[in-house]
């Protein structure tokens, strides 16, 4: 038998497996699975989904700025396999960087005019590190406590009326009932 594996087929199988596994996860865990996938697609998006939007924004801005700086050094061309195979694979850590690399094709990166040639390799490293750091950010999503996720889901599902209702008064212990004395 002759098996042919293409990148698209592997991605489809992995996606189907991911959806299947997500369906059998607990409710609190399922949103984590979606957040994990979203975090790969766009750095920081997973944290935003889990309600930690400040942290998500921080990750997005810091990784985006690093990627933009690396791309600026490399003449806005992503790392190709010929430039450096290891840095090329490092880009796969984020869907956004992978998409940009795919859209740009197999153009070879070149050092920006006016910059010292010794900056070229660090520029490629910047692009690669963004992908690798995004993997760490994705892993940190798994550390978000289930209770926090449950609270987030409950907040979304809770009706507005219940949310605005005043809190219940604390229970007051009942006063002891006096027992009437029996006549002798």
């Amino acid at each position: 038998m002759n098996f042919r594996f293409s990148g698209k087929a592997v991605l489809i199988v992995l996606g189907a497996l991911f959806i299947l596994v997500s369906l059998f996860m607990k409710k609190g865990e399922r949103i984590k699975g979606v957040a994990f996938f979203l975090a790969w697609l766009v750095p920081g998006a997973g944290h935003v989904l889990l309600g930690k939007w400040k942290k998500g924004l921080f990750f997005f801005l810091i990784l985006g700025a690093t990627y933009a700086f690396g791309m600026w050094i490399a003449g806005f061309r992503p790392v190709s396999f010929d430039d450096n195979p290891f840095y090329f694979v490092g880009q796969f850590g984020s869907g956004a960087t992978l998409l940009i690399a795919k859209l740009r094709g197999a153009e070879k990166a070149i050092i920006r005019d006016g910059l010292n040639p010794s900056w070229f390799d660090p520029g490629l490293l910047y692009v690669c590190v963004v992908g690798l750091l995004n993997l760490v950010v994705m892993m940190s999503i798994l550390d978000v406590k289930p209770a926090e996720v449950a609270v987030t889901e409950a907040d979304v599902l809770r009706p507005a009326a219940a949310a605005s209702a005043p809190p219940m008064a604390p229970a007051v212990p009942a006063a002891p009932v006096p027992v009437p004395e029996k006549p002798a």
């Binding site: 810091i62 990784l63 010292n116 010794s118 900056w119 660090p122 590190v129 750091l133 950010v137 940190s140």
Partner: protein, 61 residues
């Protein structure tokens, strides 16, 4: 100096790495910045001392 100007790129990338790693394990912005800066100082000291050691070895031995 321009030949080794790429060494200045060490600081931003290490700072970014340390900030992201600290942000993954902590929620307090103050402690994130504090710990990242402290670790950057340690790593820079290691780099400078290592560079000085290699320079001395190459220069005098």
């Amino acid at each position: 100096m321009s030949g080794v100007s790429y060494l200045f790129l060490f600081f931003p990338i290490v700072l970014v790495i340390l900030l992201v790693l600290e942000a993954c394990r902590s929620d307090d912005p103050k402690s994130i910045v504090k710990r990242a800066a402290a670790n950057l100082g340690v790593l820079t000291a290691v780099l400078v001392l290592g560079g000085a050691f290699v320079y001395v070895i190459n220069r005098w031995f």
